[in-house]
């Protein structure tokens, strides 16, 4: 299949054939996502107000895309992605998943990456950013990796050094048990630079 060009205003798309699952415990956030995705022409749209509800839906039918909130009571979005990658029905194990979060500290973005998500989007969501990420997924040629402790898109990145203004990757991560933020929220561009795939020189 030939490479897709850049997403342009004149790019044509037929998202009406996709089956999309949207997960968020906040009813208004669900409404917002549903309005955006249905505005793109998606007809098969299932909304879930919890990860448990999403698990039930994912056990019933195949989907083409999952958009999930990161922070939810009970099972959170990251754990849902891990469950999808490990334990969902075969047709859904490798579907694209986008994690949407208002907490875009670096460690949260890395957690999204390490749970097997394809991309992370910072709230507030905009139609343009959501459509761009769907297009990025369509363009993706990343391999999937399945190991003992990770299942998901290849996480290797371009060797570009640490992001501007930072001393180095993971150098300021806290222990999981501590969990308190020490870095400010990242912008969408910074998130993309962390999540975007690339080849690593070995």
């Amino acid at each position: 299949m030939s490479a897709l060009p850049k997403l342009l205003a004149s790019t044509r798309m037929s998202l009406d054939k996709l089956a999309v699952l949207i997960v968020d415990d906040n009813a208004q956030s669900l409404d917002i996502l549903v309005q955006v995705v249905s505005g793109f022409g998606v007809k098969t749209l299932v909304r879930c107000d919890s990860a448990a509800d999403a698990q039930t839906q994912l056990a019933k039918a195949p989907y083409d895309l999952v958009l999930t909130d990161a922070q939810m009571p009970g099972m959170d979005g990251y754990s849902l992605v891990q469950w999808i990658r490990r334990d969902a029905m075969q047709q859904n194990r490798f579907i694209p998943v986008v994690v949407i979060t208002g907490h875009t500290r670096q460690q949260d973005v890395l957690r999204a990456r390490d749970c097997g998500a394809n991309f992370t989007i910072a709230k507030p969501i905009t139609p343009k950013v959501i459509l761009e990420r769907i297009f990025w997924i369509a363009k993706e040629d990343r391999m999937f990796v399945e190991t003992g402790d990770y299942v998901g898109p290849d996480r290797r990145f371009k060797r570009e050094g640490p992001p501007a203004g930072m001393k180095g990757r993971r150098s300021d991560d806290l222990d999981g048990e501590v969990g308190t933020a020490t870095t400010p929220n990242l912008s969408q561009d910074q998130i993309d630079s962390l999540m975007k795939p690339g080849k690593v020189a070995i």
Partner: protein, 156 residues
């Protein structure tokens, strides 16, 4: 010990189904989604106003003995405003709410609230939500003031 690693390329159904060169123009899809968001503007405005009122009630300057307040409570309220801001992009409320999240993080890290800074953030959210005549530039100036507050605190 060597762990087995399987690498493979799953079928890209989105590419095959949605980007085969026909259908809606991207600009029309975005405009349609934006129009859908407009239908939620009233509800989003109500959510923002109610959330700011709750911030004031639980964390505002009139609350007696607020030092014991739980940081995640205020963080959660700010996150609600960030969510609703998708429908109110011109108001810059999300930027003020994110600044408040940064402040809460700083306070949690320091183990102590900085109430004057919290009060400034809540007052700013009230201002941005109530003064609809503020220009984009004026809003940006207000937001940069909040960033300066957080920056000053982070240097302490």
């Amino acid at each position: 010990m060597t762990k087995s690693v399987r690498k493979f390329r799953p079928q890209n159904r989105i590419r095959a189904l949605a980007f085969a060169g026909s259908g809606l123009l991207a600009k029309d899809a975005i405009a349609s989604a934006q129009a859908g968001l407009e239908t939620l503007r009233g509800a989003a405005t109500e959510t923002v106003l109610a959330t700011i009122a709750e911030m004031e009630r639980r964390f505002g300057s009139r609350v007696a003995d607020r030092d014991g307040a739980e940081p995640m409570g205020l963080y959660g309220l700010a996150a609600t405003i960030i969510d609703a801001s998708s429908c109110l992009p011109e108001a810059c409320l999300d930027e003020a709410a994110k600044s408040l999240c940064d402040l809460v993080d700083q306070c949690a890290e320091a183990g102590a609230w900085n109430w004057p800074a919290v009060d400034v953030h809540i007052a700013t959210l009230q201002l941005l939500s109530s003064q609809t005549s503020l220009s984009r530039d004026e809003r940006k100036k207000i937001i940069s003031g909040l960033a300066a507050v957080n920056e000053r605190l982070s240097r302490r």
